[in-house]
Amino acid sequence: MKLQEIAKILDAEILACCDSDVEIMSACGSDLMSDVMAFVKENVLLLTGLVSPQVIRTAEMMDIRAVVFVRGKVPGKDIIDMASEKGIAVLATCEPMFIACGKLYSAGLTGKGV
């Protein structure tokens, strides 16, 4: 699934986009970054309600190419700039975590990723 399609499904704003051709096969929803590092195996889309530079750091360490901030949380310029510099796409949606994950899963993003 391409980022543009994900943005459309979640009615999300793309705040940083480096490679719109990147193909996302699976996703992970978590506010705990150590859990992301413990359990994620594939290169996933990360959905999180945590707004912190450490989200981008975690994505960097795990080679995660795109992050969606849920529940209407909008990251600051520092976070968006850090993501852009590292080639990580940033999206923001007003959907809550459960609904955002459910919509993506229903649309075919069913890879387990862990």
Binding site: S34, S52, P53, Q54, E60, M61
Partner: protein, 140 residues
């Protein structure tokens, strides 16, 4: 190749900077991405621990053709019960730390999960030295 980084105390906005630089260096050297992820994640967890528990410290990194050795040293309070701290879910972190997405009790277990060798020397009220080794060869 020897690298050295200061790890500033209680600076969560910049925590992970040393790990980020080491990861970039390993990418430049053309190391297998799977091995890079193992080194980057285990170092990042150790760096975060030094920031949130250890009052900052330093990272000494040695890279040769076979392996990377990462040594994170802090002068913090030490780990009171190391065996307990190695269990998934055990944490002594404050709410502030949890608000940053850490402190879920997965830091040390994650280091153990990704490092090929992990050594932790800790002394109460003196500090902790975490040594992580990741081998680049296939058999590890």
């Amino acid at each position: 190749m020897d690298l050295y980084y200061e790890i500033p105390a209680d600076d969560l906005a910049h925590a992970g900077e040393a790990s980020s630089r080491v990861k970039k260096k390993l990418v430049q050297l053309g190391i297998d991405p799977v091995k890079i992820k193992k080194a980057a994640v285990s170092m990042y967890e150790a760096e975060i621990n030094a920031v949130i528990h250890g009052g900052g410290g330093s990272a000494d990194v040695t890279i040769d053709s076979e392996k990377i050795i990462i040594r994170i040293t802090d002068s913090g309070p030490g780990i009171e019960d190391l065996e307990l701290a190695m269990q998934e879910g055990y944490t002594t972190a404050s709410d502030d730390i949890r608000e940053m997405g850490f402190g879920a009790g997965m830091g040390l277990p994650n280091m153990k999960r990704y490092a090929d060798e992990l050594d932790i020397q800790t002394t109460k009220n003196k500090g902790t030295v975490v040594t992580i080794v990741v081998y680049f060869s296939r058999q590890h």
